[in-house]
């Protein structure tokens, strides 16, 4: 299964994102993104199955967690 990545503003927000997604039944993993993915150097984020990406984005927006899709 292909993965979609959501870059968060911090590692703490990556874990918050994971918790939010877990509450909504979406499995995700906290990962470190490298500079080639973010163009801003090292960052953190979460990865989700591509089929869950749309629901995940909605859940993160509803929870007020800022993210970008690298």
């Amino acid at each position: 299964m292909k993965k979609d990545l959501f870059a968060t503003s911090s590692l703490t927000y990556a874990y918050k994102a994971r918790d939010v997604l877990s509450y909504t039944g979406i499995k995700s993993n906290v990962i470190r993104l490298d500079g080639s993915e973010t163009r801003k150097g090292c960052r953190f984020g979460v990865s989700v199955d591509q089929r869950d990406a749309r629901d995940a984005a909605k859940a993160l927006r509803n929870a007020g967690i800022p993210f970008t899709e690298p």
Binding site: S9, S10, L11, T12, Y13, Y15, K16, V30, I31, R32, K40, G41, C42, R43, F44
Partner: protein, 374 residues
């Protein structure tokens, strides 16, 4: 040995705290936030879990509002140096610890004082008067480290909110013993140690921010690596990274996490009631005994006293020779000791934890009666 110096650092620690520390030696733990490998991520998860628990314990609106430091003094330095500008009018209490007073002096604050040992309404009237005269920040301890006294924090915070002043609270002697909620207690910045009432180990402090506090106008005390955004020249303007430059103290954070679990499962009210029962046993047993003077005595987590004709250090040494750990001197709070020995020599402090027993209190009283006779 009877350990009555829990206001300095608590001992013993719960078994779960010991286990949390040992786990870091058994399993691979990397640097939290400084890598994507399994060991680094395990460390990062440990830190995040501790943030969540601390946020829940102190009523913060999210784990991102909890920052870890090297200790409560560092938390207070960071809070005061960022919030207080040179010449700013700041109010504090008359019995404060040097970890509040010295950062205020260094920041160049124009300091005024309320009488910490007055009754609640007088304290609030003094704070209100200060705010009307332009005080922009109030910094004080929830509970004294010399007397078993507490301040009306929620009401002081409400006054600060009403006047737009920053409210910084030192919870060094309160965390784990009193219910603290940064939101309902109207606190902007709460500073607490891990190793006292939260039963962690030394080397870690907590700074908890209220959700509405403007961190962008608050310069960090320390700058450096934050594990992300390496190309920006400045520390991030978001929490917690803004105030966490460099490697976090993982081992004390893991211990703190287990300590918070212990406090929450035991119950803050139960812990406080137990400590009050120890002080009650001592005060009741020594009531009417001539030769010992307690200062501002009440049932609480600590007691402060002197033996007639003996310097505090001499009394502490005699107690030590009988296996009792107590702390003599000024307790880094010279303002508080204006209310103890008239000669300025300070006093002896005994302070309790949930692990002290009534038998220990009884033995202490027997020793005190012996010391009085010496």
């Amino acid at each position: 040995m009877i350990y009555f110096d829990n206001a300095a650092t608590s001992w013993p620690k719960p078994r779960a705290v010991e286990g949390a520390v040992k786990r870091l030696f058994r399993e691979p733990y990397g640097n939290p936030g400084r890598g994507g490998h399994a060991a680094a991520m395990r460390a990062a998860e440990t830190v995040y879990r501790a943030r969540v628990k601390a946020a829940e314990l102190f009523g913060a609106k999210g784990p991102h509002l909890v920052c870890f430091t090297g200790g409560c003094t560092e938390s207070l330095n960071a809070a005061i140096s960022g919030a207080v500008r040179y010449g700013m009018k700041v109010m504090t209490g008359t019995t404060e610890h040097n970890s509040v007073i010295r950062p205020l002096i260094r920041a160049g604050a124009d300091i005024s004082y309320f009488d910490s040992l007055s009754d609640e309404e007088t304290i609030l009237e003094q704070v209100r008067a200060g705010l009307l005269l332009g005080v922009s920040a109030v910094v004080c301890a929830w509970a004294s480290n010399v007397f078993p006294t507490v301040l009306p924090i929620r009401r002081i915070g409400a006054l600060c909110r009403e006047h737009g002043a920053v409210f910084i609270v030192d919870a060094a002697q309160a965390a784990g013993i009193y219910d603290i909620n940064v939101d309902t207690d109207n606190i902007d910045i709460l500073c607490a140690p891990a190793h006292k009432g939260l039963y962690g180990v030394t080397g870690c402090g907590i700074t908890v921010f209220s959700e509405g506090y403007d961190v962008r106008s608050h310069p960090p005390l320390t700058v450096g690596g934050s594990g992300a955004d390496p190309y920006t020249a400045y520390m991030p303007d978001r929490l917690p990274e803004r105030f966490e430059a460099g490697t976090l103290p993982l081992l004390p954070i893991a211990a703190l996490s287990a300590g918070i679990d212990f406090v929450r499962s035991t119950g803050i009210a139960a812990i406080r009631a137990h400590e009050e029962s120890i002080s009650a046993a001592i005060l009741d047993s020594l009531s009417g005994v001539s030769g010992v003077t307690f200062y501002r005595p009440s049932y609480g987590p600590l007691l402060c006293f002197n033996i007639d004709g003996k310097a505090p250090e001499e009394t502490a040494a005699l107690l030590d020779s009988r296996g009792i750990c107590a702390r003599a001197g000024m307790h880094c709070a010279p303002g508080a000791h204006k209310y103890t020995a008239p000669d300025g020599s300070g006093a002896v402090r005994i302070s309790f934890s949930v692990f002290n027993t009534e038998e220990e209190a009884e033995y202490f009283c027997d020793v005190i009666k012996d010391v009085i006779r010496l």
